[in-house]
Subunit: 238 residues, 6 copies
Amino acid sequence: MRPSGRTPDQMRTIQITRNFTKHAEGSVLICFGDTKVICTASVEERVPPFLKGSGKGWVTAEYGMLPRSTDSRMGREASRGKQGGRTLEIQRLIGRSLRAVTDLTALGERTITLDCDVIQADGGTRTASISGAYVALCDAITNLTQSGRLKKDPIHGQLASVSVGIYQGTPVLDLDYAEDSQAETDMNVVMNDAGAFIEVQGTAEGHAFHMQELNDMLALADKGIREIMSVQQSALNP
Amino acid sequence: MRPSGRTPDQMRTIQITRNFTKHAEGSVLICFGDTKVICTASVEERVPPFLKGSGKGWVTAEYGMLPRSTDSRMGREASRGKQGGRTLEIQRLIGRSLRAVTDLTALGERTITLDCDVIQADGGTRTASISGAYVALCDAITNLTQSGRLKKDPIHGQLASVSVGIYQGTPVLDLDYAEDSQAETDMNVVMNDAGAFIEVQGTAEGHAFHMQELNDMLALADKGIREIMSVQQSALNP
Amino acid sequence: MRPSGRTPDQMRTIQITRNFTKHAEGSVLICFGDTKVICTASVEERVPPFLKGSGKGWVTAEYGMLPRSTDSRMGREASRGKQGGRTLEIQRLIGRSLRAVTDLTALGERTITLDCDVIQADGGTRTASISGAYVALCDAITNLTQSGRLKKDPIHGQLASVSVGIYQGTPVLDLDYAEDSQAETDMNVVMNDAGAFIEVQGTAEGHAFHMQELNDMLALADKGIREIMSVQQSALNP
Amino acid sequence: MRPSGRTPDQMRTIQITRNFTKHAEGSVLICFGDTKVICTASVEERVPPFLKGSGKGWVTAEYGMLPRSTDSRMGREASRGKQGGRTLEIQRLIGRSLRAVTDLTALGERTITLDCDVIQADGGTRTASISGAYVALCDAITNLTQSGRLKKDPIHGQLASVSVGIYQGTPVLDLDYAEDSQAETDMNVVMNDAGAFIEVQGTAEGHAFHMQELNDMLALADKGIREIMSVQQSALNP
Amino acid sequence: MRPSGRTPDQMRTIQITRNFTKHAEGSVLICFGDTKVICTASVEERVPPFLKGSGKGWVTAEYGMLPRSTDSRMGREASRGKQGGRTLEIQRLIGRSLRAVTDLTALGERTITLDCDVIQADGGTRTASISGAYVALCDAITNLTQSGRLKKDPIHGQLASVSVGIYQGTPVLDLDYAEDSQAETDMNVVMNDAGAFIEVQGTAEGHAFHMQELNDMLALADKGIREIMSVQQSALNP
Amino acid sequence: MRPSGRTPDQMRTIQITRNFTKHAEGSVLICFGDTKVICTASVEERVPPFLKGSGKGWVTAEYGMLPRSTDSRMGREASRGKQGGRTLEIQRLIGRSLRAVTDLTALGERTITLDCDVIQADGGTRTASISGAYVALCDAITNLTQSGRLKKDPIHGQLASVSVGIYQGTPVLDLDYAEDSQAETDMNVVMNDAGAFIEVQGTAEGHAFHMQELNDMLALADKGIREIMSVQQSALNP
């Protein structure tokens, strides 16, 4: 049995609140159960050096956790003077995923930065970040089109992400912290609305996993991602 | 006239939400109008090296702003690799203020860290941080006394903070960003419930201020701080 | 057609040279075609703080590229003052993979560090690193058992890694740089000798990939990893 | 009684030596008793990015202490790799104070940097720094006007700074280290020659201070600052 | 007797392998006995800021040691976040030496960076680096002249380097690690093919050395450097 | 002719002021003409980790330049976040030189740190630093013996340092900045009172130097160092 009492294929409650803060072009609070992440999208009319003069834009992400978003206090990365490997890995994943559904040429020479800041963590912060950042990105794009700065929508697909894993021998969907810390296998999946994969990252924690287990986990991920996409749609088109 | 339409001695609406996140021993969301800060208090059973074996505890603070808490995106300090001078100045102020109402010997050899993270900024983030951190600190102390780890309450005074300044020639209370960025003088005041000063930090931005102006500003601060203390009390004793 | 003229399921020539340098407990030069990585294993009789007194050991990795291992010179990370996100991501992957086949309790309170330094890069440096580091780890363990410091071999499985991807619409095995920089999908797979997965990391670069493509790539990876394991065995038991 | 035998309203001996070193446009050694600070003013014909093209100049400051300026050796900030919070706070204060008496538009697009380096510390290093930096700034301006690079003097007021505090229940002027380390309240005051405040920074160390104590301290500061200004005038117009 | 059995004026075997890696304009593996260094020369069509518009080029060097090039593992400088003093000292020496035989005006506004990476250390890594970097520099220049980017050879002298020292009272040539760690005096000498000195750096480790000892050591260095130059010539003109 | 009008073998005026600042166990201001360096010696009753339990002490040095000790302002190393290569090279040289005349076993498990801070630079800052640090070290040792913490004087030789070089074809002694910046060869020499060498560091700037030139420079250095030692003796035994 799962610690939360959920069935193996049951997601936590997903909630998406748009316009959570007032300054950003897109600002979303996304909750996967007790995991809560603020995702903001910021538009800046400049691009990194390697894109200057290319006519293309850039979508990138930064990720952080408030020091006491977790059970015991983590040192603040700003105070330690550098971002850890896990942080860099996650923000690279978020940026790469969002670029996979964005036509950078259609975006033009501007940068959209997605800041994903975890205010409360209970497992799945990176998948919540990706799923929430997608909504914030859509809002920022709408802001650009409504203000006349963009003519064509550069987003060419919907995107969401969920974790799956093997907990006590059973494939389960959307692991919370109690499961995540005990899981034998942990996998993060990013998919688009055509049901195709954008990222698949599976790690054997306790023992190696077999082809059949991989397929079972991917099937669960597919189900979960469809549910998250439905919540994203309801939030974007209330 | 003030941009917000407030009278010179009128505070913004103050709201304090306790138990805002679930992991910390104290977790408070404090709003001074559109300025919103998450203040958490974390208890750790260890002290900095200079206090080891002294029998005394420590109260300290860290401060941060989410990159898009402001009108235009600020670079993330964790990514830049260091905290700026303003950040260090503010977190030193918060820690010093809270230590002024805490009996560190009564606290015993443990550390309470107050993390003040601004999720939306509209002026007065440091005074909101101090006022919210006080409530989070009280909750952490209650947690320690209720769990039997502390016998005596080490907090020996209530504490709040507000900004005052001179805007278009007039002393005003609790400046928002529109006023703060135009003020001729900016002053942050921390007081205790006996009406005495813990910190007074006044800076002439446009022109130097005179004794009478100083006295007028301090009288406004006294009024504002009494109002904040009343909201703190309502939150702590609902 | 592949730029190298290889068939889709054809590996590059794999070469493993043991005892490449003289100081390390394990020292291997591994070549996947023109990709050349020095993998050394260093034994130290201490563990990270979180394992002190636990009776368990640790296996970790560090990764680096010589500045001119690549076509145009990269800045030296030691000179820039920090390791980039890609470096941290890769060294976390290498360490995690090797721990998956090591019984840390049987290792005892000592640390084995695998340093993987790329002297010439032509795609697949991380998979070559993992495959070579496994051999260096085996040599370090043999060193420990032969010197009587270890009684039981803590390695409980063989491990190798290869990249697969989709190049011009076709799933291909062991991508070189010419393919890697153009691939629509790039996937790194780590497997053990039981044919089970330790890591699966697939990224859609150009377009999202479907379940069938995933399965085709994993079948190629399985074939390639068996071939690498055969070369590892020949190197270890000449 | 004060450890030094001074009366409560008695300053230490103030000495100002101009042209202390030979390269800088302004170079001053200022002594407040045993506190000795070298203040140099350096003119550079460029401004920070945020002022480029604005027609305005900039006045800024950096502060440092030689490692053995204090009773026990402090680690060198250059060696530790960053400036501490106290250093950043002090150099921000010095720069802000000097800008308060400088017409940046009249200065034109150039930067004057005041370096304040403490070679011997005995309390009051920041107030000595501000008071000495003012003289160095005047010399740098004179250098600019005499060389024809500036037509109009951009300095529109005289400025000095002193510390006041409450020591053993009595308000005292210009605290030395023996008093500073025991003071119940510590306050740094910066004033101009019109007797108006530029900065007021008061901190309760032992117990909170009342309005009357604040007023007593500010009266002492006013007296002390007039005396420092007299020494500044004698130095500038010998 | 020397630990290696060599006579006092006997060099270790010197081997130089050109084209050791494939990407660099010059790539050399140089071995002084068991000391092995990869020296690559990278040409970039830009110069440091202080040379922009000067018409002159730049030759510079970076030095590193693989973590397990030594008997016990050294921390990786990229991971520690800075290059140590010894590293900076050595790379400054290498760059300075090579600039002494290069006409920077004839080179034109481009930079050649010599990366010297020690893969196995047994004493004399800096002298091997200089001697190998010279060959890599020649190859990079040949690459520039053959491709028509340079008309005139900017190298105006041959250069090599060797260490000498006093070991157990006797001046010896080309110290290996066993000698180096016990030597009373250690001296690194860089000379050109006219027999003149480019660098002389002698350090008394155990006791100070006298004029006669200095002269004996320099005579040994002269002999050794002629031998290295002969190997360089054989490598460059096979 | 030398820019200063000195003869080739003429030193600048050397002045040594002991007890320059009040806190350090040794504090010296040394002037080589316009080059002025504060050298302090600090005693700490602890040793670096590699000497713990060895019974041996340590002598080390740190070097810095005030930002405006030079003709144009240099960035402050504390602000840039790291010490440059030149700084590290010089402080390694100072520490190594002083250890050459100190019996570390006789010193016992304590550290003496020599801080050499240049307040005005005009060439020869490293040689002035070494020569002044020697006197500060003697004072710190006297402090230890007079307070009964040391029984035996661990200093077993006198030490001084001077620069020599070739300026416009002529060997000259004690170069000032005007010469140093134009010299064809620059050499720093550290000798003891037995006339033996502790460090010899010669660098060809313009053209390589020959054996005869080396000998001429070393003879000049010997003369200059004897003169500095005489000034050291007068300062120590007034």
